[in-house]
Subunit: 138 residues, 2 copies
């Protein structure tokens, strides 16, 4: 199956992307000639990864009847120093809040996402070293 995203140049460094019929303005930061009208393209990859694995995890925890008060994900990409600068290391921090959360189930959901379900992880893992960490907060 094919999926398609259209991106139209607006002006200077800004583009409007049409993703699933939602418009997202992308722009460069001011120090490289942009005007900061929207997120930069590169960290959007990190959002793509975090959203993908996050959806896997909430979906599996729901099936396991684990109730979360909140669930946050931080995705941290370390850029290479040489051009082309890309994320050669990516760390995903899963932060779960809730009462008496079962660590084992959280780990299982995260591992299944990383190893079996998340297609963005699968794609990026060939170019970047991806690691993760689970934090539980009451």
């Amino acid at each position: 199956m094919e999926e398609k995203v259209d991106i139209n140049w607006m002006e200077e460094m800004s583009f409007e992307a049409n993703v699933d019929n939602f418009k997202i303005v992308l722009d460069a930061s001011e120090d490289v000639g942009g005007r900061g009208l929207g997120p930069r393209p590169k960290p959007l990859t990190l959002a793509s990864l975090g959203g993908c694995t996050g959806m896997d995890v909430v979906s599996m925890l729901k099936k396991m009847r684990v109730k979360l008060d909140s669930f946050d994900i931080s995705v941290i990409g370390e850029l290479t120093e040489e051009h082309p600068k890309y994320y050669h290391k990516i760390k995903i921090i899963y932060i779960f809040k809730g009462k008496d959360l079962p660590l084992e189930k959280l780990e299982k959901a995260v591992d299944l996402s990383q190893e079996r379900y998340c297609g963005v992880s699968k794609l990026l893992r060939n170019g970047a070293e991806i690691s993760h960490e689970i934090r539980i907060e009451e």
Copy 2:
């Protein structure tokens, strides 16, 4: 250098991502339990790639004094059939409009982006076969 994106679970399959201080709601489609409140995470990777190479190209063409009437990019990802479904082939179509556009310069800008500058291409290229095509429309 490190870059960080925070993603917060909203409800069901929806998440709010904070990318460069811009909020993007991500959601799954209705057929997999989402409500389609925002783009799905996976095609966001394609937008990230298109935006990254698009900015390289406009920036280089500006230096080469090439004047474009419009510039659109389509990024098409072909998903694997087996899980985890990921884009194993990605095609980038660069569509330039303008009067008497110099193909050689357009090709040079695109090639430099793909081979030397675009960090998203560099990252994805290890997991996916990336190809591209240049179209000129008057």
